[in-house]
């Protein structure tokens, strides 16, 4: 039987594609009626081939942008789950973000009719690891014991955490300008066999490297500090992955049980796998787990977290995975596909299947300093002219600093200041563009409340909004809400034209009688204003009312992952700042591959380019000091762009 009929029969219960949709009584008839034809008719051979492929061999599905990857993964999962006959072993389907998890869950339910449930797992890699490996077993490695409760769960401490209890976990000796390093501020990088600094100090990594290579005792001190931290039941995200790997390597009996519990692991967006995560997979694979990777290594954009596609490539080679491909891009028209492929400097094998609806899909707009607003207006009129949907179009920038610049948000300093957190919470509350901004507002507020009112209490991590562990969830939410309402009801607080000093006094009054806990009033300790800032105006540090003159919102490359957009304006940084020319913020980095090797900056641009369905506009700076030259213009025209001035 061919793949189409096989899947059709298994999932829909039909034996053939129906002649007349209205007569079809298959299980998916609702889904089919939405798209107007049989679901299985609309799938490509490549997609069907993967969905029907044998689950008992290791497969890497190389899926180009817009290839309907999520749909195929959902179909694959539904198909395998339906056939599954083991009652206590299951498939673990893993993603890297909660939104990706939700998306996949919804799509799978459409095929499956029911939720993915025991014995299977669908969730992020981290939650899977924490639930089934780390929490149950890493106490064996860390030696943490809670004799009183007999509960050996670890407590997750974030790298950014600066709570008081961490004083007990800092180095005895000072590390020059890094001061005494705390146990959550560094972690061990297994691949490069060195400690990574995660603290706030600029250039900290370089300093740490130097000190470690000079004084051998420092490494030992850090080792011991880390062990002590673990033994007391604490760990950072990075630690957990490392300890989990140690565990699997040391306790092959446990690794065998885990491999038995999850004989198949399917990982979506596999380009986001870190070296250590790959080692964990490798270990489970050696105990019999089958691994399916789905993703696009060209969209790997987390080098700043030491995630590089070569590691995954090596892994694929190492366990000799079978490579399958999805090469039809249903999102973008072929011009945009060509421009994207041009970035990677390789032979084009992806085909753009989207029908081209605009006359000129690839446009470069040259802009001068301070003309960002003008650039955006021009883009918006282009979108309208081409009858595309503005709400489904985005401005994409490399990083938050450019995004904030466009929005008028000031850059955030790395170290935490309570008063600034309160101000920022209020700022994001009044100027939220997205759910993300709203969440950010609450997060800042929660951190500020914890630090100013309940500093001495042990608290949970950012996922639980820094809730003091002795408090109930709803107790904590009530407190946050109370403070938020008090702050909002004080109109004067909204005035960011004040100095920090004035604002702090006002805030102090507002918060004074705000919180009652355990029947007692708690008074806040706001800490001090950042050095040298007390006479500065808040709007200069945080931002003011925001540029609201444009309709489409701004995304960073990392936040636009997975999106499908009618039109994209991808703005380059104005100047090519200094030494780090691979950051990908300036357009020069986007195009040039080095000796044919694809770099992170190429991939970043690739992700941004490939979001666009019909129209891709690049915002390219054209400074008076060094106007764009012929050489550079040629690169752009070679890529297929037409160049305009604004």
């Amino acid at each position: 039987m061919d793949n189409r009929k096989l899947l059709l029969n298994q999932i829909c219960g039909c034996y053939d594609i129906p002649e007349d949709m209205k007569m079809c009584d298959g299980k998916l008839k609702q889904k089919c009626s939405v798209i107007g034809k049989c679901v299985f008719e609309s799938l490509t051979e490549q997609q069907l081939e993967y969905a029907a492929t044998d689950i008992s061999s290791n497969v890497y599905l190389n899926a180009c942008p817009g290839s309907g990857k999520t749909e195929v993964v959902a179909l694959k999962c539904a198909y395998e789950i339906m056939k599954w006959d083991n009652t206590y072993s299951g498939i673990a389907i893993m993603t890297f973000t909660n939104s990706a998890e939700d998306e996949l869950r919804n799509r799978t339910v459409e095929y499956l009719g029911i939720q993915i449930d025991y014995p299977h797992f669908l969730g992020t890699f981290t939650s899977w690891l924490h639930n089934y490996v780390a929490n149950p077993f890493i106490h064996i490695i860390t030696g943490y014991r809670n004799k009183e409760t007999l509960d050996y769960s670890f407590r997750l401490i974030e790298t950014e955490c600066t709570s008081d209890f961490l004083f007990s976990f800092q180095t005895k000796y000072s590390y020059q300008s890094l001061n005494k390093i705390r146990a959550n501020q560094f972690y061990f990088d297994l691949k490069n066999k060195k400690y990574i600094y995660g603290g706030f100090i600029y250039n900290g990594q370089k300093l740490l490297d130097e000190m470690l290579s000079k004084d051998s005792w420092r490494k030992k001190e850090l080792d011991e500090l880390k062990r002590d931290f673990w033994k007391s039941g604490f760990a950072t995200y990075e630690d957990i992955e490392l300890i989990s790997l140690y565990l699997l390597q040391e306790r092959s009996d446990i690794a065998r049980c885990i491999a038995g519990r999850f004989p198949v692991l399917l990982i979506d967006e596999c380009q986001d796998l870190s070296y250590i995560q790959l080692q964990i997979l490798k270990c489970l694979h050696s105990h019999g787990t089958i691994i399916h990777l789905v993703g696009d290594l060209d969209q790997s954009i987390y080098e700043f977290r030491n995630i590089v596609p070569d590691d995954t490539r090596e892994f694929i080679k190492d366990i000799s995975m079978k490579e399958m491909r999805l090469t039809s891009n249903y999102r973008s028209n072929d011009s945009i596909v060509s421009a994207s492929t041009f970035l990677l400097d390789k032979k084009k094998y992806v085909i753009g299947k989207q029908e081209q609806s605009v006359e000129t899909p690839l446009i470069v707009l040259l802009y001068k300093k301070g003309e960002e607003g003008k650039l955006i207006s021009k883009f918006e009129s282009l979108v309208n002219e081409n009858k595309l949907n503005l709400h489904n179009s985005r401005i994409i920038v490399r990083n938050n600093s450019l995004r904030n610049k466009i929005y008028g948000i000031k850059k955030e300093k790395k170290s935490v200041n309570i008063i600034e957190d309160y101000a920022r919470a209020l700022f994001y509350h009044y100027s939220s563009y997205s759910v993300g901004d709203f969440q950010l507002s609450i997060l800042y507020l929660a951190r500020a409340i914890h630090k100013s009112f309940f500093k001495s209490m042990e608290h949970s991590n950012s996922q639980k909004l820094y809730r003091p562990t002795l408090m109930e969830d709803n107790e904590w939410w009530q407190i946050i809400n109370k403070v938020k309402n008090e702050m909002i009801s004080c109109e004067k607080l909204r005035n960011f034209d004040q100095t920090w000093k004035e604002w702090k006094q006002l805030l102090q009054q507002v918060l004074l009688n705000c919180i009652v806990y355990n029947g007692q009033k708690v008074s806040p300790d706001l800490g001090s204003i950042r050095k040298g800032c007390s006479q500065k105006k808040i709007k200069d540090d945080i931002g003011n009312d925001v540029n609201e003159n444009f309709n489409c919102s701004v995304e960073t490359i990392h936040s636009c992952k997975g999106m499908s957009l009618d039109a994209v304006l991808f703005i380059s940084a104005y100047s090519n700042s200094g030494n780090n020319n691979e950051s990908g913020s300036h357009w020069h980095d986007w195009f040039a591959t080095k000796n044919g090797k694809v770099r992170e900056s190429n991939r970043l641009a690739y992700v941004a380019f490939s979001r666009a369905r019909q129209l891709l506009v690049l915002g390219i700076p054209n400074p008076d000091s060094s106007p764009i030259d012929i050489e550079h213009k040629r690169i752009l025209t070679d890529a297929g762009f037409k160049i305009f001035l604004i």
């Binding site: 025991y118 089934y132 409760t149 670890f154 709803n474």
Partner: protein, 663 residues
């Protein structure tokens, strides 16, 4: 996979963390009332989320009253360990695994209310509450509970949640699921629907329905009229089986003519048996289906059953436990059941100074000989020792009869007994050993086992055995020569006869060549014991606070008689009464009685106490009387004036944990 250990904290009477060990198969929990047997059963139900328990929820009183005072931090905690997991179970119970790859399940309740006004509850597997917890895995453990007060009739009646409906739906669960998935009907549903359809067509029903319909039409006119039909409700499988009812007939021969009766006509005991049978049928019927542990909890198996039925049922459960790999945990106060259960399957509960002690006898590491002996020896009467708060082991019937009476007399003579006037007041039993087998029983209570020396290479078997004999009888032991083991924390005293060795004298012309001169010890002339168990006396004193051996001068009756002339007088009078003939014996009795009367009148007389005691002993032993009968007669006669020998007083003091008194 079976529940091997249970840890309980702050649940009801357990104010200190306590751990109970269980075995595979049958476990019999014995002990006095109020020492936590049912609490342990309920802790298992709570842990495994047994349906009835979880339905009822937790009460304030379920938190230990001492720790409840502490308020917010009061934490009720139960944790169970499952051992011997198969490879498949290790995978299924992955997040429950401990470092040694056993499985652990924990449940915690905090004494604070959550938003729904219930105690805050947390349940997790393994060593860490942050792990994934899949309820399916827990629900895979089948736990069935049989309460003590069984209203069998109610549960067996037709209706929602009846035993029968539960049994039937559970047995046909797979078929039901499959049919429902494919939108098909169960056979039973089809049959009932068909019958239901035919009901409508019966002439009487049809006519009634027509009349109703006609009346409606007449009343409201054809526009507003409705239609009716007379038949049974449309029934689903679950509803049908709920209306089924269990009937019974006497005997097992069933034929066409057998009449079945309603259960309320049946006896309480048989209804209980039927009830238990419906539960066991579920275990039997589904035994292929479950790969995971199955636990049957029975409170007071003996309820409503006569001893023979108790034994029969126990044997069946025991067989079921073994053959179908079911863990059966039973609480009982029935000495019949205790006696019928191998000692190593018994878990003994006791309470001492407000603290509960739980001792699985298998953990006492009884040596094989002791274990076999106790298994043979424990009968329904003797197994009371498993339920008592203290035991006095005696050699024979006479002591068994007289000791409670002597204790009463002694306790009355003391003024510091805090209202205790008899042994049964404090739950102390007197156990007749019919001989001197204390050393086996003491192993239940003494808490130490000897590390016997190894046979050396050049040592003969005989020499080795001799060396072991000597070793065993040592008065005390160094570290390394023994190890500590769990014990039943109940005091245990043994009363034994000193039995001095009789003197043998060679006589030339006697036919046997020797005559035996019986020993006549007195308080001033104690003789060396001939009792082979005597070594235990000193050894126990050195090695444990829980067991003691008390001895007399010669034998029980001899010592009663020699204790005082008034004692002797009563004893002589009884003998005199029972004497069938007048003769030399009668004369001698009268002589002694006269002397004692003289003495009471303050006249100087000379009595050889030892001689008289020996005489009394011989008479009691003689054919016309016997120790048993004599003891009974004596028991009826004695009063506060009877003098209780010291060794008996001391034994009573020890078991009751009272100070010994001089004199």
């Amino acid at each position: 996979m079976y529940l091997s250990k249970l840890r309980i904290e702050n649940f009801r009477l357990f104010n200190k963390p306590i751990t109970v060990s269980f075995h595979k198969g049958l476990n019999l929990l014995v002990g006095e009332n109020g020492c936590g047997k049912s609490t342990v059963i309920d802790a298992i139900r709570m842990l495994l989320n047994e349906s009835e328990f979880s339905h009822k929820g937790l009460n304030v009183e379920d938190f230990n009253s001492f720790s409840r005072v502490g308020g917010k931090n009061c934490r009720l905690f139960v944790c169970g360990l499952f051992s011997e997991l198969s490879d498949e179970q290790k995978i299924e119970y992955l997040t429950w695994l401990t470092p040694k790859l056993n499985a652990r399940l924990n449940v915690e309740y905090l004494f604070t209310y959550n938003a729904r006004n219930a105690f805050k509850q947390k349940r997790w597997g393994g060593c860490s509450s942050g792990s994934a917890f899949d309820w399916e895995v827990l629900n895979d453990i089948q736990c069935v509970y049989l309460p003590a007060l069984r209203d069998a009739e109610r549960y067996l009646k037709a209706g929602r949640g009846s035993r029968i409906s539960r049994l039937l739906t559970n047995l046909s669960m797979d078929e039901l699921k499959e049919k429902r998935k494919n939108n098909e009907k169960m056979g039973l549903e089809k049959d009932v629907a068909e019958f239901n359809h035919s009901v409508e067509k019966k002439t009487d029903i049809k006519r009634a329905n027509e009349l109703i319909n006609e009346s409606i039409k007449q009343a409201v006119g054809s526009v507003f009229a409705q239609s009716t039909a007379i038949k049974f409700n449309e029934l689903s499988y679950e509803r049908i089986v709920e209306s089924l009812q269990l009937l019974f007939s006497h005997g097992i021969d069933v034929n066409e003519g057998t009449i079945f009766h309603n259960l309320f006509e049946n006896s309480l005991g048989y209804n209980n048996l039927i009830y238990i049978a419906t539960i066991l049928a579920e275990f039997e019927g589904l035994k292929e289906k479950y790969t995971s542990p199955r636990i049957l909890l029975v409170e007071e198996l003996e309820a409503h059953l006569h001893p023979q039925l108790q034994m029969k049922l126990l044997k069946y459960l025991s067989k079921l436990a073994e053959e179908c790999d079911i863990q059966v945990i039973i609480t009982t106060h029935s000495t019949t059941l205790a006696a019928a259960t191998p000692i190593n399957q018994i878990i003994c509960f006791s309470r001492f100074e407000d603290e509960v002690f739980i001792t699985p006898i298998s953990k006492c590491e009884l040596d094989k000989k002791a274990e076999n002996f106790i298994n043979r020896w424990l009968d329904a009467t003797k197994s009371t020792l498993l339920f008592s708060k203290g035991n006095i082991l005696v050699e024979g019937l006479a002591e068994a009869i007289l000791l409670p009476k002597l204790a009463e007399i002694y306790l009355k003579s003391r003024n510091d007994t805090l209202g205790i006037s008899a042994l049964e007041d404090v739950g102390v039993s007197v156990i007749n050993m019919n001989g001197i087998y204390f050393q086996y029983f003491m192993q239940l209570y003494n808490g130490y086992r000897l590390n016997l020396p190894e046979q050396e290479t050049d040592e003969t078997k005989l020499a080795y055995e001799k060396r072991v004999q000597l070793f065993v009888k040592k008065e005390s032991f160094e570290t390394g020569e023994y190890k500590k083991v769990p014990f039943i924390n109940v005091r245990c005293a043994a009363l034994t006869d000193n039995d001095p060795i009789n003197e043998k004298i060679k006589v030339e012309d006697h036919e046997k060549g020797t005559i035996i001169i019986e020993s006549k010890p007195t308080k001033y002339n104690e003789l060396i014991s001939g009792n082979p168990q005597m070594y235990l006396k000193k050894q126990l004193e050195k090695m444990t606070d829980n067991c003691r051996v008390y001895t007399n001068l010669k034998t029980f009756e001899y010592d009663l008689a020699i204790e005082s002339h008034s004692n002797a007088k009563i004893m002589l009078e009884i003998i005199s009464d029972m004497l069938p003939t007048d003769g030399k014996v009668k004369t001698k009795i009268n002589e002694y009685l006269e002397k004692i009367t003289d003495e009471e009148a303050d006249n100087a007389v000379e009595i050889d106490d030892a001689e008289m005691a020996l005489f009394i002993l011989h008479q009691i032993d003689s054919s016309y009387l016997g120790k048993g009968l004599f003891a009974q007669l004596l028991c009826d006669r004695i009063d506060a004036s009877f003098v209780v020998p010291n060794y008996i007083k001391n034994a009573i003091c020890f078991v009751l944990n009272m100070e010994e008194q001089d004199g």
